[in-house]
Subunit: 506 residues, 2 copies
Amino acid sequence: PLCLCWALGPAAATNILLLLMDDMGWGDLGAFGEPSKETPNLDQMAAEGMLFLDFYTANPLCSPSRAALLTGRLPVRNGFYTTNGHARNAYTPQDVVGGIPDSELLLPELLKKAGYTNKIIGKWHLGHQPQFHPLRHGFDEWFGSPNCHFGPYDNRERPNIPVYRDWEMVGRYYEDFKIDLKTGEANLTQLYLQEALDFISKQQASQQPFFLYWAIDATHAPVYASKQFLGTSQRGLYGDAVREIDDSVGKILKHLQQLGISEDTFVFFTSDNGAALISAPRQGGSNGPFLCGKQTTFEGGMREPAIAWWPGHIPAGGVSHQLGSVMDLFSTSLSLAGLQPPSDRQIDGIDLLPAILQGQLIDRPIFYYRGNELMAVRAGLYKAHYWTWSNSWEEHSKGIDFCPGQSVAGVTTHTQEEHTYLPLLFHLGRDPGEKYPLSFASEEYQQAVEHISGLVQQHKATLVPGQPQLNVCDQAVMNWSPPGCEKLGKCLKAPESDPQKCSWPH
Amino acid sequence: PLCLCWALGPAAATNILLLLMDDMGWGDLGAFGEPSKETPNLDQMAAEGMLFLDFYTANPLCSPSRAALLTGRLPVRNGFYTTNGHARNAYTPQDVVGGIPDSELLLPELLKKAGYTNKIIGKWHLGHQPQFHPLRHGFDEWFGSPNCHFGPYDNRERPNIPVYRDWEMVGRYYEDFKIDLKTGEANLTQLYLQEALDFISKQQASQQPFFLYWAIDATHAPVYASKQFLGTSQRGLYGDAVREIDDSVGKILKHLQQLGISEDTFVFFTSDNGAALISAPRQGGSNGPFLCGKQTTFEGGMREPAIAWWPGHIPAGGVSHQLGSVMDLFSTSLSLAGLQPPSDRQIDGIDLLPAILQGQLIDRPIFYYRGNELMAVRAGLYKAHYWTWSNSWEEHSKGIDFCPGQSVAGVTTHTQEEHTYLPLLFHLGRDPGEKYPLSFASEEYQQAVEHISGLVQQHKATLVPGQPQLNVCDQAVMNWSPPGCEKLGKCLKAPESDPQKCSWPH
């Protein structure tokens, strides 16, 4: 006789797949109103899953956003900020000395305890010195880079950025991993896609739960796409990159379905910060109806596209107005793995599963930081700005503009404006674009600000800032001789150490 | 035996239902990226039908837009413009003398020949003097008003606007049809909904094909909603109005389904012009990622939300990039009725059925007019501006702003700027927000402008402007004593005739 047998063991731990985009904006997906509507796979993902319309990053810049995601903590706590100036954004270029402190507990470190195999594909951005290597912070595998894919460099003043496989470099951008700045051609997204498919297959075969952090960067300037996607978008090169990502996400989800593990895999799609309007339209995306972009604490800088997908668990076609944060991905992932968050430190992320699975709305504020300055706070539909700053006049006069074509009197400011005594208040339901501050004299203003002020007091009273990691830069720490360089003949000579205060103009 | 019998006569003519919104913007629907996503019925309509992302009005103001829709012709041809000043927007306030000329052939007049019963519910706006009455221009039934629901007036300087049922008035706004300007409460959308449901039921029972033009105005300032919708939206009063409309559209579509005629009824949803940003956020909507709003020839003024729905004919979930126009609703409706458009005059609308049913992309330009001045032209993804004007400095200094919070150097201009020799050129795929004009020196610019210039020449060479209808205003023609006023005791005494040039400040 024909016999079909199933082994009915304990329920497998849920796989976790985080699809983190780089500089992709809220307005870049068809499901979020992008007028070219060129993201059929992501739109389908949203139709089968849940759309989060009020999801935020923890900082409008890449490194601190990623540090927050992986630690569940605000950058001001985990050290991913600078005190070199007031309210300055900082990240990890290759001359930065700091990185993720050993004292921080990263999501993959914790997931290990539940038997997860953890892989990062793409951009790490939490420090490139040996002590900051992702495999020293909980990841088991890595294919990608420690820094942005800027370049090409001359390997004398500045080395090209290395690409790692696990512990060792396997080449450098612009040398072994080509990016054609003229045409925008690079096949990196295809490499990252294949890495993801292979890892998922391997994990499915071994029946081990996995955490895959797919942190790709095709939408970060210099924007790139593979040859078969170049010229396929109405939106130009940036749209080509989005189309390739959309296609890749479709293939990953289909792969999960074909392997029969889509119901065992929680997938979350989001971005590290708002679209870089300064690079638009060729090298930057769209923040839809929101004000300004990357680098700012306006909605355009911090509100992110976000989709949760988990067939059989998340009701199809859901829409959530839960205020969410990349830091929640830390707590939610722990919850999926059956783990408790660390109790010895403040965790800012919350477990979103009640919002995702039961449609609950959890009351919590969103804090908008630049450096260690609390710029703004959202509670419910109200957002209070305590400081405003778009970018400096000096930079603005050079054509650097984080709010191109947008100018709201008294709101988009080119000096750092303090409003701590009378915060600027917006109602983000009536005014998602932050164009109409409420009157200071209105009762609505007074009630909302009183409520938010209470939240701020509470927040500040318990805040213990971490040691700032992004203050010191040194040419000597750049990627001259990453591990593995000998085998490739790609070791370069480092200059003398000469630590300096990092310059953070934004 | 049980016998089921069907009479198999000739196929019934397709009913036509146009849902025309007032001042609703491209960005006001969830399906178009509105962040509160409060339009589940319209989003469902889009999911079951086809979304048009590149659909335009013929003029960024109400009366000319509606005249264009019903005649299939640009306002410059059908007379719905003014020559009192250069490139001025004009409409039909109650002191305007003009209206739709008898020489124009309106859609309902033509549909009559195919046996249609035609009803207009809501705002007519093609002139309120007796010769312009909708029942003199092809409609069989009317419930609604000839003008905007502005007011309340004192009935001495200016009469309140009448509400008509068919030939006669049945009351006036603020008197018999209440609008509470303080709370925003008015039950008009419910009246318009019930009218639509009743008309549809009646037509279904009589087995006569119908054309229903549902031209409601809850989203036009003063914005209103019924009591049960007040306070239900994240977006404030404007959102309450949208929610009530969304609910009503859902009920209308469900009614068609319950009557079993949804497959025999072509439904199209769109708006007359972009959101009135000057009235936002309490009294105005959103144009999503687009520049400026109502009154302007930027995308925010003229690109409209648009959904086609016809179960069993239009494939569900379709997305079209066909450049469409409200004038196409004229030609498409004729096609649905098996009629040919008039051959004795220039028709600007095209039959969209090949785009809707077969997914064809028909190559055609979009002309953006203010008055009789061709301000801009779109061909493919390129848009050339020959004239720019947001609004005058004089008005701007009084706080009248059609582009609040938006300011694009050299583009949003407060004087009328001529660019006819070197048009400002945008690529609307890469730059839907019209923020980055292409360089005059680029090859891309030269090729695109050459192409568009050819279209402009062709257009202008054959253009025969109609007699301008919106030049003369006269207090004596206001709604003092509309037909039926005697029965109601609502006749008012008109002042002496004193014709003046109408003042068109915008």
